[in-house]
Subunit: 301 residues, 2 copies
Amino acid sequence: MKLTILGCYSATPRALNNTTSQVLEINNHMFLIDCGEGTQVQLRRHKIKFNRIKHIFISHLHGDHFFGLVGLISTFRLLTRETDLHIYGPVGIKEIVTLQMKLADSWTNYKLIFHELSSNNSELIFEDDTVEVFTIPLNHRIYTNGFLFKEKEGKRKLDMDLVEEANINVAYYRKLTQGFDVINEDGVLINNESVTKPGTKPKSYAFCSDTYYKEDIVPIIKNADVLYHESTFLDKHEHLALKTKHSTAKQAATIAQKANVGTLLLGHYSTRYDGLDAFKEEAQEVFANVQLCEDSKVFNF
Amino acid sequence: MKLTILGCYSATPRALNNTTSQVLEINNHMFLIDCGEGTQVQLRRHKIKFNRIKHIFISHLHGDHFFGLVGLISTFRLLTRETDLHIYGPVGIKEIVTLQMKLADSWTNYKLIFHELSSNNSELIFEDDTVEVFTIPLNHRIYTNGFLFKEKEGKRKLDMDLVEEANINVAYYRKLTQGFDVINEDGVLINNESVTKPGTKPKSYAFCSDTYYKEDIVPIIKNADVLYHESTFLDKHEHLALKTKHSTAKQAATIAQKANVGTLLLGHYSTRYDGLDAFKEEAQEVFANVQLCEDSKVFNF
């Protein structure tokens, strides 16, 4: 699981700060999460192949999370993309994009498929053989979702000594890796777990931006390997977090601790602060394993 | 007259190329012309005070000319702007901006005044004591205007020897600078031009992007001091210019020559070419005084 931070600052892009956008590589998928202004340039800087992006997840319709979307869609068109593109985001996102395509008389050649979200409950919005994506309903000034990306249980590994000892025909080996019990050459039912071991532990990544402190999300993100949780403010500005429906670093850490996640990533920093160290220090008072997002930083988990 | 090129490439922003946007300073006005994605970052890089921008002119609704507009408007809001902002652009621009403000539940505190354009004739769209702005109807794939910025005739200068000789009361000096004839102390009408000289020669700037070769614009931009004319292609790709309704450098130069402008600026280059020299060379076969726009280049005229 590889996470590339294209941008992790709040509010407005600046000469040295990009607004929210991340690329998550998981099980050969490349998911784009949020798409602030300038995201396409950041994608180019990281030499990320545009055609590998087939699914874009937009948390909410504040500009710092999606003003780069229409430009990216338009650039894909100019580069004669043919691959389908799925967009997941709040109701209204389709109207914004299609209105601009209509007025520019510039329709995409590729298929643009919108999945508009409106539920206040966690929903499964994407699934294939290897990955599932669920929404994480957040609480912000407008309708907002986080996203939980979960690898599915990998194939089980055969313990060859035990498999041979159990006298199982080779034709059943694939069934075994898929977790099924099988009948051996002697007509006896062999319990799967008696001859196989679990595959690679599936990983999960929870992306939560923007939101105020909200414990309701804890059950949804429970035991996630990695949690990105916004931390717009430091503790001394908790009143601003409350007012603008954002979180402090300490609140993000409290969520991480209650959800028992592996690693907490902080981001969506207000640019009012001089450096980022205080975010990490304040979070670590509550939860030990904290890392700071920075623009262009790459995490491997 | 000072022109700052924020971006001058066509199609899509890249790591080292910005799409169209320019700032024209003329007679204490600061006009923003087109606003491709990332324009707000370029404005910051050039330390251009956001509050000095009161008028934004958008040529047409292709993304490389306006995808940065909604972000800029949004950033102005976040920075608690109070100054009115006037937007001039094709019909539809108001709907695009207001739809996004509505869905973000983020209305500006400052007054946002849209001047939607739909005429196919050159119109006066802005005027005050010192400057006039006219549209230049262009011919592109969708409804497009260029803009002609014209200083008004400056105040006349008094020839003090002649003024005193003509026995004119000092109370009339202001009237003289404004070009009026006045009556002297002896009750005789004094012809203005007999005691004054013309003020500073008013300057003009014509911005023409995007368009195919179209001589209709020549009378509108006749004798302009500076003409920016798009030159997306080199001569060998004239067929592409025709197909996409753009111009070659040579066609831009032909317009400059027919309109008898002072200086021709080239821009809106396709990124298919390795360097820009060939644009200048081809244009100079037709018109001598050619300069190349480049991102972040500043011209003083």
